[in-house]
Structures are given as structure tokens and as C-alpha cells.
């Protein structure tokens, strides 16, 4: 700056404007140069270059799709499985340099997914390995979703490792699928002597070499799966959409914000068609018994609709 002022003074004396312009030019380029160096040093400390390089590598490899969310810290990676049949979305959060966590993924819970990762590449490697181990799991769930009316979960995905299959208005079948693609914890929800007897006599003949859907069809002598008509599963069907969803007789709602599950046919009385949330019915039966928690977590009392005896356990199953 001082040089420039001096140059101006000199110019005033000598009336040499050309040299003044030259001086100013050198000075301004020097300023610009130093500013550039300034921004460079700032960006180096703010941007995680390894992370950028990591993203570049992953994108350039072309094997997976990479997308960004609201900020550059949330990243979505789409991984195809071995045969390219399914695409799995993995939501990654950048916490700190070399510290990435998986925020959400439509895969069954596993300790494998709960650790911290050093790079996106690591995440992809771990998930790809896990996904390829789960091939039979995906196959079985897809098969079930394709053939059966699913009552629960409301929006089935690979994250949920169980399905509740519609049998009739009062009875559902609960099936859990292990990561190996085998059925476990098969039981009925609701009470029906007919289905119950079939399950009792058929369960021992369950053949793990056959698919889950085939086993169910064999055990229960089903030619095809019953379809739930009360709830519309088809999208875009306006008339069906306006139809009231199944509500709980106690809270008058279908889904509760703080309790999982939808209303179930819990009353054993065949004429009583009222569904309840397990948590609502349990709370009522306990309140009736003077708010004392019942032994073994199983409350009994009378159905608040038909007044027939009813039992309800605190937890599902």
C-alpha cells in the first residue's frame, strides 16, 4: 500500500501516468495473488480431501449409484446385488473425518451394520457382502409378499424380518424369516380352532428344503392364499382409499404414534368382530384390575365390546 501511495506522489511530481498505471497493475496482481493463497489455505482445512477422493473413487468405479441428501454430509448409495435383481439403498451420514455411520438401510438389523466406517468404500464392501449373504432371505420375503395378503408390517420391506399373513378376518399367520431364508417362530395371531389344528398337525412336517410359501400352503391345505378385502392394498384406487381403515375399538385410531402394530382380532368370541391394539387392550385390562400389573405379563378380564372373557399379554407373542 505504501509503495502505491509513494508512486502516486511521484506521479504528481513527474506527471508520468504510464508508470503509475504500471505500478497499480503490479500492486493489484500482488493483492489478488495473496488473496488466492488465502482462500486456498482455508479450503484445505475445511474440506476433507480424503473424503472427496473417496467419493470420486466410488463414483468413478461406476458399480454403485451415489446421491446426496440435503447436505453433502448425507449420502445415499445404491448397491445392486450379485445378479442385479434388486437394488439396495443405504443412507450414510458423514460424522467426522474417517467416521461414517449407516443411518438407515432396508436390511434386517445386524451388528455388522452398527459399526463406524472409515470410508464409503468400506461401507459398500461390508453391505455388499451382507447383501449377498441374504439372497435367500430376500427371495423368501419377496415370494411371501407376492403370494400373500400381508397385514403387518403395513409397508413391508426387507428391514422387517417378519410377515403377518391374512388367513381370515380373525386369524393371521405370523412368520419370521431368518437371514438364511428359513422360517422361524411360526404361529397364529387370533384364535381359530380350524387353523390351529392344521398348524399343530402340520408343523412337524415343515420342510426347510422347500420354500416358505409352499410349506404354508401344504400345512394349511391352501390352493391359494385368502385375500384381505377389508384393507385396500392397491394404490391409486380412490374409492378404496377413502374406505375407513381398521381401527382399534379403544383408541379409535388405526396406528399409534408410540406403539407398534395395527389393531388385531384379539377377542376369542367368534361373533365379536372388534379389533384392538394389543397395548390398548392390555392397558384397559390392567386398569380394570386396579392398575396392578398382572402375573407373567398376561392380563385377563372381559372384552370391552362383547363382555366375553378375554386374555391379553403385554408383549406380542
Amino acid at each position: 500500500m505504501e509503495e502505491l501511495i509513494e508512486a502516486i506522489h511521484l506521479t504528481e511530481q513527474s506527471q508520468d501516468y504510464t508508470s503509475l498505471l504500471e505500478n497499480m497493475n503490479t500492486y493489484l496482481s500482488a493483492v489478488l495473488e495473496s488473496n488466492k493463497r488465502l482462500t486456498d489455505s482455508v479450503s484445505i482445512s475445511l474440506v476433507d480431501k480424503d473424503f472427496l477422493q473417496d467419493i470420486k473413487d466410488v463414483v468413478n468405479s461406476g458399480a454403485v449409484g451415489v446421491y446426496f441428501g440435503q447436505s453433502l454430509r448425507s449420502i445415499k448409495v445404491v448397491i445392486p446385488d450379485d445378479f442385479g435383481l434388486r437394488y439396495h439403498e443405504i443412507f450414510i451420514q458423514y460424522e467426522a473425518p474417517k467416521k461414517l455411520i449407516i443411518r438407515n438401510v432396508h436390511l434386517p438389523n445386524s451388528s455388522k451394520l452398527n459399526s463406524e466406517y472409515r470410508s464409503i468404500h468400506d461401507v459398500i464392501e461390508t453391505c455388499s457382502k451382507y447383501i449377498n449373504e441374504l439372497t435367500r432371505y430376500f427371495d423368501e420375503l419377496e415370494h411371501i409378499d407376492q403370494f400373500c395378503s400381508i397385514m403387518e408390517p403395513v409397508n413391508p420391506s426387507f428391514k422387517d424380518d417378519f410377515r403377518r399373513i391374512f388367513f381370515d378376518d380373525r386369524t393371521w399367520l405370523h412368520v419370521e424369516v431368518t437371514p438364511e431364508g428359513l422360517a422361524s417362530n411360526v404361529h397364529l395371531v387370533g384364535h381359530s380352532t380350524y387353523w390351529h389344528n392344521k398348524l399343530q398337525s402340520g408343523l412337524l412336517t415343515w420342510d426347510h428344503d422347500k420354500r416358505i410359501v409352499e410349506n404354508i400352503m401344504d400345512i394349511f391345505d391352501l390352493g391359494m392364499f385368502p385375500q384381505a378385502n377389508s384393507q385396500s392394498k392397491t394404490e391409486g384406487d380412490v374409492e378404496k382409499q377413502t374406505e375407513e381403515p381398521l381401527v382399534c375399538g379403544i383408541c379409535l385410531c388405526s396406528e399409534l404414534p408410540d406403539a407398534p402394530g395395527i389393531p388385531q382380532p384379539l377377542c376369542q368370541n367368534a361373533i365379536c368382530g372388534v379389533h384392538y391394539h394389543r397395548s390398548c387392550l392390555y392397558q384397559w385390562l390392567v386398569a380394570c384390575a386396579g392398575s396392578r400389573p398382572p402375573a407373567f405379563g398376561v392380563a385377563n378380564g372381559t372384552c370391552p365390546t362383547c363382555l366375553q372373557p378375554i386374555i391379553c399379554s403385554e408383549k406380542d407373542n
Partner: protein, 157 residues
């Protein structure tokens, strides 16, 4: 049930009163959205001595609703064997079991319609007001006359 589920249920019930109100029952909305206290006006049932009256009620919704019955009180004075001078009501449906017969499946609508029925059909065998119950049991004409006059005086439409 959490607070939000409780509010969900009450909001649904209040909306139901607006869309398809039962005969002679009007829900008077309150300013706040917490739904802790609701106001209602109840028309006396036809053919009863309360026929031309409009009765004001407050319904207090407890924290544990619907696992506990709401607290219903008449603001307008009523001449009735099962309703005392403070507006308290003796009705099975408003008490917890095993004493009463409150059920979580009972809605405000069923409750208030039952209350209308109670007005038309007093239960003098389980009274709150002994003298009115006695009158209702043994001198029904005088009871009807008194109830009609009382309604005219306090609850005229």
C-alpha cells in the same frame, strides 16, 4: 396410551359431533385445543317433563381417558332423582368397574345419548336425591309437574 393418542381420540369424537350430531346434542367448542374440558348442550327427551329444556353440561376428560371414564356434570339445575343439586350424576356408565360399568369402547356420543335416556327414565332405586326419588316412585304426577316447572324455570330453550 400416550397423550397424543388420547387427543387423537377426543378430536375424532368431537369431529363426529359436528359431522353427524345425535339428536338434541350439541358440542360447544372450547377455545383451546387440549380438550381437557368440553361443553355440551343437551335437549330434554321428547315426551318427558324435560322436553322443552336445554341443559348445559361440562365433560372433563381425565388424563387416562379412555381407560378412565370422563367426569360429566350438569351446569343447568335439573329436577331428577339421579342428579343432585351440584349437577353430579349417578349413572353406572360413569364409574370404573367393578362398581360401575365404564368401558373404553363407550364414546362421548353413547354416553350423552345414555344421559338423555336417563333423563327420560329415572332410576329411583339408586337415587342421589331421596325426596325426588320418593316422589317419582309414589306420586309420579306430582313429580312430572315439578320437573316440568323446574325445567321451565331454569332450562327454558
Amino acid at each position: 396410551m400416550s397423550g397424543s393418542a388420547r387427543i387423537n381420540r377426543i378430536a375424532k369424537e368431537v369431529k363426529n359431533f359436528e359431522t353427524k350430531p345425535p339428536w338434541g346434542i350439541v358440542c360447544i367448542p372450547c377455545e383451546d385445543d387440549t380438550y381437557d374440558v368440553l361443553n355440551f348442550s343437551l335437549q330434554g327427551p321428547k315426551g318427558s317433563p324435560y322436553e322443552n329444556g336445554s341443559f348445559k353440561l361440562t365433560v372433563t376428560i381425565p388424563e387416562k381417558y379412555p381407560f378412565e371414564p370422563p367426569l360429566v356434570k350438569f351446569i343447568t339445575p335439573v329436577y331428577h332423582p339421579n342428579i343432585d343439586k351440584g349437577g353430579r350424576i349417578c349413572m353406572d356408565m360413569l364409574k370404573m368397574p367393578p362398581k360401575g360399568c365404564w368401558l373404553p369402547t363407550i364414546t362421548l356420543e353413547t354416553l350423552l345419548v345414555s344421559l338423555q335416556t336417563l333423563l327420560a327414565n329415572p332410576n329411583p332405586d339408586d337415587p342421589l336425591m331421596m325426596d325426588i326419588a320418593y316422589e317419582n316412585k309414589y306420586n309420579i304426577d306430582k313429580f312430572r309437574e315439578n320437573a316440568r316447572k323446574h325445567t321451565e324455570k331454569y332450562a327454558k330453550l
